[in-house]
């Protein structure tokens, strides 16, 4: 440990954010910029009979209006999907086009039918109302299970039963069926992991700027991965020369997954800019964000978990219908499959597992990765099942977990753990997280209090012991699983002549604090002050091709790439230092920002070496000048953080209102660079996971209208809804990356949701209401109804 790693260094980016000096896409104003407003379908499913744009075109200040017809002969089919999953029979998944503007048939509320470009956003918005679209409204379907039934309205005509693909993973179904059959006890649960809406604080925005002189394109966009957007835009959507295209993701106000994907608006503003010869800016408003940002979750699941008489898990069988929405978003197919099915081993030694997923189109907004992406769905399933099994078998839920935990392995002395569902865990030690959490909660006291309670309330405790896979991912592995991209990361460490260091990372920070954490790593490894390090990200013109930030990968993958470049810098620096010190490079030690000849006080400072690298008068023969190295890091494996979360809730019997009283989280995210930032990630993640359990959830009616598409109706968790979190950690380093880090961005969200739901179920059982499930979000009415329907 050096001066910075492991310390809660204050975030260097916060000065900019807290003083209003952040530069978000919508803050950028280009010369001659125009403003776009998009005309969107008010229906979930309808034929477009006609579009009359004449009144809008005539409005003063309108520059241009485009509709789907303008793309008819352009060869532009729409935005592609970045992950291919095949049907069980080997057929390629259905991949219907996702046009930039719809010409014939709208497929979800908010589908884009026209774009109006004007001198101001107000004029654009007014003129958008003048576009007269005549629709023939058709029946729609929003529920994935219903959509997969014969006779359901079709989203895409050439996609029978709306099924995009079916998919299976794990042991043969016959083995799993037999093991379930032979079990002493089987816990069965049918449940919905409801659709949630990401709600990043900054709505999406994009500016397209085509400069005819030089034939250059610049896209400013609120994206988590600018290079990926550039690749998709150039190679798959608009067929542009990649070297002429620059994509900039400046400050981005939160993503939670929803800003990973390549959205139609990004291609639209570029295309429109070329048509009109001026920059075009589009900024989503909040209402638009609710219906066009990709949503998360939305699984309808049935699961059976078998146990022997002793409480050991014997088998797990899972059938899920996953709602994809109307179109395939960039990584949508991966979420219910390789990011969900592969996590169903959890922390347990379950000997046989089979998961069967049917991915279905519906007349709703696209669903894709949302904080946790697949792993929260897997964790929710496992942790609900095991707590329910404990209630049913009258066993202690903590004991039941200890009984089934995979024994500790460090991934060095002991091999990584091979699961039944295609993964090899890197390192893990699961007893300590749960033990620690039990100590923190005072478990024995709680049970005594619970049985003694007599005040019109019920209290309950719920557990969740999770594992997740992040640091996504070894390119060859994900390629074999269908990814149409690599998942390495790039880093360039450019030492300036004076010894100051600029680091160019392909990771993208949109709230995570990379400018601080990465700088801590660089400063410590190079033995220089933090202030001497600048982290540059988000601009495809300055940064080497990188893959961006999602799946808690930035430090594990992006940080490792930086370490590789630092190693190269120090190796070359040692040669220069050796030359200047007239010593052998092998005889030098590097520490505290200088090279020292071992056993002497002869040394030379980093800044002298860097200056020499750029003023190579007295220089090693044959060595190139300069001190500037790029690296690409492709991880050997995923990383596997884990943890134990415990919730304590109180239910008001008269109303059913749940109050979360305590929340304990013990997470193991490997080594920690900046504890404050990790705590912040855990806190935010917990709030989101608890939000799903108690407050959030998209509600579509049968006509595909989103009923709660505003903050007056869609309930985000707020500070006063939450207790002060009690968090702690254990540290099991990742054995396969140089920093030993695992990733902390999603852990809070992944672990917390089932803990809260389990606590409510536990409270209900303690009051004699032996219900298996209360739908999320667990509104007062739902909990109250559960108490009415089952007075056991």
């Amino acid at each position: 440990m050096g001066n910075y790693i492991g310390k809660s260094v204050k975030r260097v980016e916060d000065k900019r954010f807290l003083t209003g000096k952040g530069q978000y896409t919508d803050d950028i104003v280009l010369h001659q910029q125009t403003y776009a407003s998009i005309v969107r379908s008010p229906y979930a499913h309808a034929n477009i009979e006609s579009i009359d744009t004449s009144a809008a075109e005539k409005a003063v200040g309108v520059v241009a209006v485009f509709t789907g017809k303008d793309f008819a002969d352009s060869g532009i089919a729409g935005v592609p999907c970045g992950w291919q999953v095949n049907f069980k029979n080997g057929d390629i998944m259905k991949e219907p086009p996702h046009p930039l503007l719809v010409a014939d048939k709208v497929k979800h509320l908010g589908d884009a039918v026209a774009i109006v470009i004007a001198e101001s956003k107000e004029i654009a918005r007014d003129a958008a109302e003048l576009v007269d679209v005549s629709y023939d409204v058709l029946d729609s379907v929003v529920d994935p299970k219903k959509a997969a039934q014969p006779g359901a309205p079709l989203v895409h005509e050439d996609c029978p039963n709306n099924i995009c693909f079916d998919w299976e993973l794990g042991n043969p179904k016959s083995d799993v069926n037999a093991a379930i059959e032979a079990s002493h006890h089987v816990t069965t649960l049918e449940f919905v992991n409801q659709r949630v809406i990401p709600n990043a604080m900054e709505p999406r925005a994009a500016i397209g700027d085509y400069q005819a002189a030089g034939d250059k394109y610049t896209l400013y966009t609120s994206s988590q991965n600018p290079h990926l957007i550039r690749l998709l835009l150039c190679a798959f959507v608009l067929n542009l020369p990649e070297h002429k295209v620059r994509v900039v993701s400046p400050d981005v106000g939160g993503g939670f997954g929803s800003k990973i994907f390549h959205y139609t608006e990004e291609a639209l503003v570029i295309w429109c800019s070329k048509q009109i010869g001026r920059p075009v800016k589009w900024t989503s408003d909040r209402s638009e964000a609710f219906i066009t940002d990709a949503h998360g979750r939305d699984h309808v699941t049935k699961a059976d978990m078998g146990f022997d008489a002793d409480g050991k898990i014997t088998a797990l069988r899972v059938e899920t219908y996953a709602n994809l929405g109307a179109y395939l978003s960039t990584f949508a197919p991966a979420v219910p499959t390789y990011l969900h099915g592969t996590l169903l081993q959890g922390l347990y030694t379950t000997p046989v597992i089979n998961v069967d997923v049917t991915a279905v189109f519906t007349h709703t907004t696209a669903v894709d990765a949302y904080r946790g992406a697949g792993r929260p769905e897997a964790t929710y399933l496992l942790e609900r099942m095991i707590d329910l099994a404990a209630l049913e078998m009258e066993m202690d839920p903590a004991e039941l977990r200890f009984k089934n935990f995979i024994p500790a392995f460090d991934g060095v002395e002991q091999e990584g753990y091979m699961t039944q569902v295609a993964l090899q865990y890197d390192s893990g030690d699961y007893d300590p997280v749960l033990k620690k959490a039990l100590d923190m909660v005072g478990y024995d006291d709680f049970r005594a209090k619970q049985s003694a309670l007599d005040n019109g309330k019920l209290i309950g405790i719920g557990f969740s012991t999770y594992i997740e896979a992040c640091g996504i991912a070894p390119s060859a592995v994900v390629g074999a699983l269908g990814a149409r991209a690599g998942l390495f990361e790039s880093a360039q460490v450019r030492v300036q002549p004076t010894g100051k260091v600029s680091v160019y990372t392909g990771s993208h920070s949109h709230g995570q604090g990379h400018e601080t954490t990465f700088a801590q790593v660089v400063a410590d490894r190079m033995g220089i002050p933090l202030d001497d390090v600048e982290i540059v990200h988000g601009d495809s013109e300055s940064v080497a091709f990188g893959m961006g930030t999602y799946g808690s990968r930035s430090l594990a993958v992006g940080g490792s790439a930086i370490v590789k470049s630092i190693d190269k810098v120090l190796e070359k620096g040692a040669k220069i230092a050796a030359h200047l010190l007239e010593a052998n490079a092998d005889d030098l030690d590097y520490a505290g920002g200088k090279w020292t000849v071992k056993g002497t006080d002869k040394s030379i400072a980093f800044g002298d070496v860097s200056l020499t690298a750029y003023v190579p008068h007295n220089y090693p023969e044959g060595l190139e000048p300069g001190l500037d190295f790029s690296s690409f890091y492709d991880p050997a494996n995923f990383t596997y953080p884990f943890g134990a979360h415990i919730a304590i809730v109180e239910i008001d019997k008269s109303t059913g209102k749940v109050e979360l009283q305590r929340f304990i989280a013990v997470d193991d995210v490997g080594n920690v660079i900046n504890p404050m930032i990790v705590d912040g990630q855990i806190h935010g993640g917990l709030a989101q996971g608890i939000g799903q359990a108690l407050f959030e959830g998209a509600i579509y009616d049968d006509n595909g209208q989103l009923i709660n598409g505003s903050y007056m109706d869609y309930c985000m968790p707020r500070a006063d809804d939450l207790p002060s979190f009690e968090i702690d950690r254990t540290v099991t380093p990742c054995p396969h990356n140089p920093l030993g880090v695992k990733g902390a961005g999603e852990a809070g969200t992944i672990g917390s949701t089932p803990a809260v739901v389990n606590a409510v179920i536990d409270a209900l059982w303690s009051g004699g209401h032996k219900v298996k499930d209360v739908k999320m979000p667990m509104t007062p009415e739902r909990v109250w109804s559960a108490m009415q329907s089952d007075q056991a």
């Binding site: 107000e122 408003d285 109303t655 007056m712 109706d713 869609y714 309930c715 109250w784």
Partner: protein, 280 residues
């Protein structure tokens, strides 16, 4: 989230505002109901007449047996007024339960009453307090009793060319008490059920009790059934139970995705009971 084009005019006085009014104009007070509707283009007035800076509309005054709250007084000002707390405490505590701090700093009592949201807090408060709402039009002022001010879903007895100027709230006699309890819609924090109760009586015995309920039906209402059960009764668990059971007598109970008709009815009873219990 961009409203259509409108003209903004600032009124310096009530008569100034009255002279600016026209069919396509709307009064702007705190803007916390009107502006969201305009941003969603559900409401597209040509002109906004800002009355939020008219001093005479912002005062809270003592007029002997009653207090006078100016229509443009903010929820926050009312919640923190000692005069209001002393005259009828639930008016202050109810104002303090509206929305969040930003809403309370901008939103006004007059705007809320004129808007007549079925889930708003003020309607129950003014009905239970037996307040009088003074409005002013071209023809001069008129007084409307709170009980007859609300006429339906977002509808009131206010004429198009009238401005609410004052809300007159009778001071409670010594020995009386009042309370407002609210079960909130978690996203907006409006009332799923809000129950205001005023008890004009010595301890134990119930002489004169007024109960008003908001959030439950298309407009706030006086729960006469509840009052009848308690009239002249000693307040006891049994009488409260009987009274609470009549919380939704003769009203059509609303249903939405936060609270079905059945649940809302149940919560109305729970909250009427809760309110009555605090006055026991």
């Amino acid at each position: 989230m961009i409203p259509s084009k409108f003209q903004y005019k600032r009124a310096e006085s009530v008569s100034d505002a009255l002279s600016m009014m026209s069919d396509d104009a709307k009064l702007l007070a705190g803007g916390h109901s009107l502006l969201p509707a305009m941003k969603l283009r559900l409401n597209q007035p040509d002109t906004l007449i800002d009355i939020s800076r008219i001093e005479e509309l912002k005062s809270i005054k003592d007029e002997g047996d009653h207090i006078v709250i100016g229509a443009a007084a903010t929820h926050h000002d009312i919640a923190h007024s000692n005069l209001v707390k002393g005259a009828c405490s639930m008016i202050a505590s109810g104002a303090g339960q509206i929305g969040d701090i930003q809403v309370r700093n901008a939103g006004t009592i007059g705007g809320s009453l004129a808007h007549a949201d079925p889930a708003a807090d003020w309607p129950a408060l003014v009905i239970a307090a037996e307040a009088t709402i003074r409005v002013q039009g071209q023809g001069g002022p008129r007084d409307i009793p709170a009980a007859s001010f609300f006429t339906g879903f977002y509808e009131t007895a206010l004429a198009d060319d009238e401005i609410i100027t004052e809300i007159h709230i009778p001071k409670l006699p010594a020995g009386s008490s009042s309370t407002y309890v609210k079960f909130v819609q978690p996203a907006s924090r409006f009332a799923i059920v809000g129950c205001a109760v005023v008890k004009n009586a010595a301890e134990g015995e119930v002489g004169n009790i007024k109960v008003a309920v908001t959030g439950v039906s298309e407009m706030a209402y006086r729960a006469h059934g509840v009052e009848d059960e308690l009239m002249g009764q000693v307040v006891s668990d049994e009488s409260i139970d009987r009274a609470a059971a009549r919380a939704t007598d003769h009203v059509d109970v609303l249903s939405d995705h936060y609270a079905s008709e059945k649940y809302r009815k149940h919560i109305a009873q729970v909250y009427v009971r809760k309110a009555l219990e605090t006055l026991k």
